[in-house]
């Protein structure tokens, strides 16, 4: 059965604190921090984009898996900030991680959940024997309009997962997956538009909560598993508050969610968010631990997965770059003007 044979993460070093953004718009930093449960967010360097973040995560995943990248038969990159409208991020990544040319590749977009849609595609391809290994990446340098509530959370980061099915290589088996999808206009960005638009409070109940709860319940029905069967639960995290609320509604305790909740420290990495959360809990999982992951992409849909850590997770952990170390290592704090420069938002002409 298909499972994860390796994974890698990347989060840019730059950070901006909520206070720094609130100062510019004369808002109350304390109430924003409490309301969104976020203290700071990651900021890409001026020379980082979804392709470079995906590549760094992909290279770490290849190293962790200990495989020859030329054996990867499919690469999918999920993002809503692909550098080109036409020319795949996935081909840049495949070349840069040293994969060969005998593979299929494509860019995926489904707001914040395209990376987990890629994982589902790879499950089918590996289980059917069509490929030996496949890589799915969620990577974003997300956009938030200056002055909009999104500006406090929209950040940058990504995670890459290699799927295979050799028992001795699988660090975590994917036991089952279930999805829930509907045409819900909660958040969108039109072709050519710089920043996304959203429906404000409409992004909550009919969008995030309805889809995550529905997909997770479908998974429970399919597997017979219950919240108490899981050591860890990871949910899409557009802010630090929603995952705590949705987990409570589903019957999970806070201790099951904490290890995979990264948004309070790095913001919402969009396509990277639930996948970075999964990487963070795999860093800590013991063989036999079950992990629930439910992503959410606006527009809207959720993919839910039941995953079980296996014995090779211990042996492979020594060559792993842990998410916690990547996040905390050599942070560089910037003020709002450097933040704008890094985002290439200063008009020079």
């Amino acid at each position: 059965m298909a499972g994860i044979v390796g994974y890698g993460a990347h989060v840019p070093r730059y950070r901006i604190k909520v206070e720094e953004i609130a100062k510019v718009w004369d808002e109350d930093a304390k109430s924003i921090k409490n309301g969104l449960n976020i203290t700071e967010k990651s900021v890409p360097s001026h020379d980082e984009d979804a392709a470079t973040i995906a590549t760094e995560a992909g290279r770490r995943a290849v190293h962790h898996a200990g495989i020859d990248p030329k054996e990867i038969g499919a690469i999918y990159v999920g993002s809503e900030s692909h550098p080109y409208a036409v020319k795949p991020t996935a081909t840049v990544v495949s070349q840069a991680i040293g994969a060969g040319n005998n593979l299929t590749a494509a860019d995926l977009e489904f707001a914040c959940k395209a990376g987990t849609a890629g994982l589902q595609m790879l499950m089918g391809m590996t289980d059917s024997g069509m490929i030996k290994y496949g890589m799915s990446i969620g990577s974003d340098t997300s956009q938030g309009r200056p002055g909009d509530a999104l500006e406090y959370t929209a950040s940058a980061g990504g995670a890459a997962f290699i799927v295979g099915k050799e028992k001795k290589e699988v660090i975590a088996e994917i036991l089952a997956t279930a999805s829930y999808t509907s045409d819900t206009p909660d958040f969108w960005r039109r072709e050519g538009a710089m920043y996304p638009s959203h429906g404000g409070r409409f992004t909550g109940e009919p969008a995030y909560f309805k889809h995550i709860i529905s997909a997770t319940k479908l998974l429970f029905e399919k597997t017979g598993l219950k919240p108490e069967d899981f050591a860890f639960a990871v949910f899409h995290q557009p802010n630090g508050k929603f995952p705590l609320v949705v987990s409570k509604k589903l019957g999970f305790a806070e201790h099951q969610v904490q290890d995979g909740l990264l948004t309070p420290k790095i913001g919402n990495t969009y396509s990277g968010a639930s996948m970075l959360g999964l990487a963070a809990v795999l860093d800590k999982a013991k063989p036999g631990d079950k992990i629930l992951v439910t992503s959410f992409g606006s527009g809207a849909g959720s993919d839910s997965f039941a995953i079980e850590a296996k014995e090779p997770i211990i042996e492979k952990r020594e060559r792993l770059a842990k998410v916690e170390d990547i996040i905390n290592k050599n942070k560089i704090y910037v003020d709002y003007s450097v933040y704008l420069k890094n985002r290439n938002s200063i008009v020079k002409n």
């Binding site: 070093r13 730059y14 020379d47 984009d49 070349q95 840069a96 040293g98």
Partner: protein, 132 residues
């Protein structure tokens, strides 16, 4: 534009993955690749080799008056990095924060955007270096 596409395509492996070559006759490693080994001449026997990207700064400077292609990056740090395999490679050093990049600073390679041909042209990706 056509010329830019072809020249980018020819050098992708070098630029993305620090792929140089090694003379199997004397063991000397070159980056960028050479057709003929400087030491071995006619006995040259070159094979491709991927470099680790680990090294230390051999020489360093800060560019404040940039070439047109790098105007959005200025000011930026450029160093000659001595790789652990031997070759000295020129590259940008990024994300040093407040830490000074000086001779002897340990670095490793990262994958970044180098520049873009305006708003509509190609994006050029390249290795750069980051302090360890």
């Amino acid at each position: 534009m056509e010329r830019a596409s072809a020249s980018l395509w020819r050098r992708i492996n070098e630029r993305y993955n620090l792929v140089g070559n090694k003379c199997e006759n004397c063991g000397r490693i070159y980056f960028p690749k050479r057709i003929v080994c400087r030491q071995c001449g006619r006995k040259t026997k070159m094979t491709e080799t991927k470099l680790s990207g680990n090294g230390k700064v051999y020489a360093v400077t800060k560019i404040r008056v940039p070439a047109q292609a790098f105007k959005d990056s200025a000011p930026y740090t450029v160093a000659v990095v001595e790789l652990e395999e031997g070759p000295r490679v020129e590259g940008h050093v990024v994300d040093a924060g407040n830490g000074e990049v000086k001779i002897g600073t340990k670095v490793h390679s990262v994958f970044r955007k180098m520049h873009a041909d305006g708003e509509e042209g190609l994006i050029y990706y390249h290795f750069k270096f980051e302090p360890v």
